[in-house]
């Protein structure tokens, strides 16, 4: 699935993390990548589980399951590659099950008691799905004494 050109504000990619469905604006999503090797090495960034190599790029993998569900979600063998967070919104990956689908619909505002990473509620027929704000989700990770990401030569 390649949806990089789809920037319609009403188009979303529905993804499954654990037993839950979430939606991401399709304009942020680059592709659904097949299962590839996760490369892990020592680091202290809580929200990151490692990197994958995709289309000649090294992409960080955010552990969305832990951030959303408080535990690693099982059965997440595929990677949704999207522009996630940070300066320049670099391409990043989040583990998902292979079940992704496109959907269109209107986003309803969320109630104030919802987490900051819920940008809205997508109504699809009788279902409602949380629309993720990935930047807010990643920012919700516990701080481990982050160091400002300095510019690299």
């Amino acid at each position: 699935m390649i949806a990089g050109d789809n920037s319609s504000r009403n188009s979303f990619v529905l993804l499954r993390i654990g037993a839950h469905r979430f939606a991401l604006p399709a304009g942020l999503v680059a592709e659904l990548a097949p299962p590839v090797k996760l490369h892990a090495f020592p680091h202290t960034s809580n929200s990151v589980s490692g990197v994958i190599i995709r289309r000649r790029r090294i992409l960080p993998v955010y552990d969305a399951g832990s951030l959303l569900l408080g535990k690693q979600a099982s059965g997440q063998q595929f990677y949704l590659v999207a522009r996630c967070a940070g300066e320049g919104k670099e391409l990043s990956a989040i583990p998902v099950s292979g079940e992704c689908e496109m959907a269109t619909g209107q986003v309803q505002p969320v109630e104030s008691d919802r987490p900051a990473y819920v940008a809205g509620t997508l109504i699809i027929g009788e279902d409602s799905v949380d629309v993720l704000n990935l930047e807010a989700l990643i920012a919700s990770a516990p701080d481990t004494g982050s160091i400002h990401a300095e510019a690299q030569p």
């Binding site: 020592p42 670099e90 990401a149 690299q152």
Partner: protein, 177 residues
């Protein structure tokens, strides 16, 4: 090399080839620029040159090493990277630095086509630990930043910790003379 950092792609260049030493600490392989390593020694061969220091400010340093005309702080890489405890057998004595690094074993020396930037998603201490990432034999290997083994604050803490001992040794030496 079949992988490239985003920044490298955008910049239209992919760095330059570089000789690195691949070494293991616990179950993790690292790379370090060969030119930043002056010598590799067995820990057994350093018995007379290494002295234990009693300080708790920087737990990853338990010894100093008198090497040439330098006094190096010996950093346990396993503690530095928060890896499982192992028994290091080798010491990398870094060039132009007062740092020696305890590692488990050397894998080999090789050439890498480029060092790719650490993704900006990594925001912790690893930004000091690593110069970037290399892709070797289907694996992504962190390329360590030699100066990242000890920060200026850690150097200062170590200097403060060993000064009383050094002063005492100097006094003892003067008394014996």
């Amino acid at each position: 090399m079949s992988a490239a950092g985003e920044r490298s792609d955008k910049a239209g260049h992919r760095g330059k080839p570089e000789a690195v030493i691949l070494f293991w600490v616990a179950n993790q392989m690292f790379a370090i620029a060969a030119e930043s390593v002056q010598e590799i020694r067995s820990t057994d061969g350093l018995a007379g040159a290494a002295n234990e220091i009693d300080q708790e400010a920087v737990p990853k340093v338990r010894h100093i090493l008198e090497w040439g005309r330098r006094t190096c702080y010996v950093v346990n890489a396993g503690v530095h990277f928060d890896l499982p405890v192992t028994r290091p057998t080798l010491v990398l004595i870094l060039r132009r630095m007062r740092i020696a690094v305890l590692v488990d074993r050397i894998d080999r020396m090789t050439e890498i086509p480029a060092v790719y930037p650490l993704p900006r998603a990594f925001v912790g201490k690893e930004r000091r630990w690593y110069r970037g990432l290399a892709y070797i034999d289907d694996s992504v290997i962190p390329v360590v930043e030699p100066s990242g083994f000890l920060s200026a604050e850690e150097f200062a803490a170590l200097e403060r910790a060993i000064k009383p001992g050094e002063s005492q040794r100097e006094m003892e030496g003067a008394a014996q003379a």
